[in-house]
């Protein structure tokens, strides 16, 4: 493999300088330089716990499902009540309740989609992109 033909004819050969563990002071260019210790500490500090990330999505997906179901139930009950009531004042209250239920259904649906199907669709999109890239090569 190392004898393969170059696809970068313009690159000059610069042998890699041997490096030792203690030689970490040099050229850092414009990227901010932090010590190994602070970099490692920041990394470990920002790590999530094994259960946190999955749990959060699951929790929100379940919450969305509950809100959606409740909203739907409220809408159906309010609609039935408003249709069976003769009192126009009651009907107004029940229609308002129905609209609130409909709004809750939409809100719950959005949350559910965001945290359940959203993840699935994201992976589906990534897979599509990856397959397209693979075919292009």
């Amino acid at each position: 493999m190392n004898d393969s033909k170059t696809d970068d004819p313009g690159v000059e050969r610069h042998p890699v300088e041997p490096r030792s563990v203690d030689s970490r002071s040099a050229d850092s260019r414009s990227v901010e330089t932090r010590s190994t210790e602070s970099r490692a500490a920041e990394f470990v500090a920002s790590l999530p716990s094994p259960r946190a990330s999955g749990d959060r999505s699951d929790r929100f997906a379940r919450l969305g499902m509950v809100i959606m179901s409740l909203g739907l139930a409220v809408t159906v009950v309010a609609t039935v009540l408003s249709q069976t009531s003769d009192n126009s004042l009651d009907q107004s209250t029940q229609i308002s309740l129905g609209i609130t239920g409909l709004a809750a259904t939409c809100f719950g649906g959005v949350i559910f989609l965001r945290y359940s199907l959203g993840e699935l669709l994201r992976f589906w999109l990534l897979r599509m992109l990856h397959e397209r890239e693979t075919h292009r090569r």
């Binding site: 493999m1 190392n2 004898d3 393969s4 033909k5 170059t6 696809d7 970068d8 690159v11 000059e12 050969r13 610069h14 042998p15 890699v16 300088e17 041997p18 490096r19 030792s20 563990v21 030689s23 970490r24 002071s25 040099a26 050229d27 850092s28 260019r29 414009s30 990227v31 901010e32 330089t33 932090r34 010590s35 190994t36 210790e37 602070s38 970099r39 490692a40 500490a41 920041e42 990394f43 470990v44 920002s46 790590l47 999530p48 716990s49 094994p50 259960r51 990330s53 999955g54 992109l129 397209r132 890239e133 292009r136 090569r137």
Partner: protein, 241 residues
């Protein structure tokens, strides 16, 4: 206090795909700031090892720890956000996006597109000249530069490189590994998967040889290189019998 002598730790890790076990009890400790070379023949489990560290493959047994914290099963996206960066085999650049657009993928709320571009082009001036060119039309070495600069601007704590040298001429590989040395000098812990020890011998602090899913050699590159041939051949005999 973070245990710097074990930033990455794998304890008895077994992993595989659809019932086929690829890693068979990997115990590995990588200190912070070390450049570790993972050597081994095709199909030895090197890429799976990187995938387990990156959280892309969940071990069937054993644990992965970062700085003493168990991270087995943590979402790989969360690990990437924390500062773990994987450059996969095949470079992972988007062929139908321009160089600039590929770099913008590393931009976010904490760094603008301009900052990302200026950092990348300072380290790899040649990419600046090809800013508006489609990444798919770049040479293999330039595509690897795009992947490396995207990693560089994300300011990682751990960088995982999978066969950076694949399909590239030796001089291009040398040039790329010089950049890896620069990145390592910034205090980044680097794990590099390579098939050829000669390619990596100048930059790695330590090497391990993975054969048939097990670590069979572990030590300084110059110490393990003489034993690599016999280790590789004994593994092929094992497979053929």
């Amino acid at each position: 206090m973070i245990p710097l002598d074990s930033l990455i730790e794998l304890r008895g890790v077994h992993a595989g795909y659809e019932g086929v076990e690829v890693l068979r009890g990997i115990d590995l400790v990588v200190p912070a700031g070390q450049v570790l070379a993972v050597l081994g023949p095709n199909g030895a489990g090197k890429t799976t090892l990187l995938s387990v560290i990156a959280g892309l493959v969940r071990p069937t047994r054993g644990d992965v720890l970062f700085g003493g914290r168990r991270v087995t099963g943590v979402d790989p996206v969360a690990l990437a956000r924390a500062g773990l960066c994987l450059i996969p085999e095949g470079r992972g650049v988007f062929a139908n996006l321009t160089v600039a657009e590929n770099l913008w993928l590393a931009a976010g709320s904490d760094r603008s597109r301009e900052v990302v571009e200026s950092r990348a082009f300072e380290v790899f001036p040649r990419l600046g000249e090809r800013r508006d060119q489609l990444a798919g039309s770049l040479s293999g070495g330039e595509q690897q530069m795009v992947a490396l600069s995207r990693a560089l601007v994300s300011d990682p704590a751990v960088l995982l490189l999978d066969e950076l040298s694949m399909g590239l001429a030796p001089m291009v590989v040398d040039d790329l590994y010089r950049r890896v040395v620069d990145i390592a000098r910034m205090g980044v812990t680097v794990v590099v998967v390579e098939q050829f020890v000669r390619t990596i011998s100048h930059i790695a602090d330590r090497g391990i040889a993975v054969i048939s899913g097990r670590i069979v050699l572990d030590g300084r590159i110059e110490e393990i290189s003489p034993q690599l041939h016999s280790a590789y051949f004994s593994s092929s005999e094992e497979v053929s019998t």
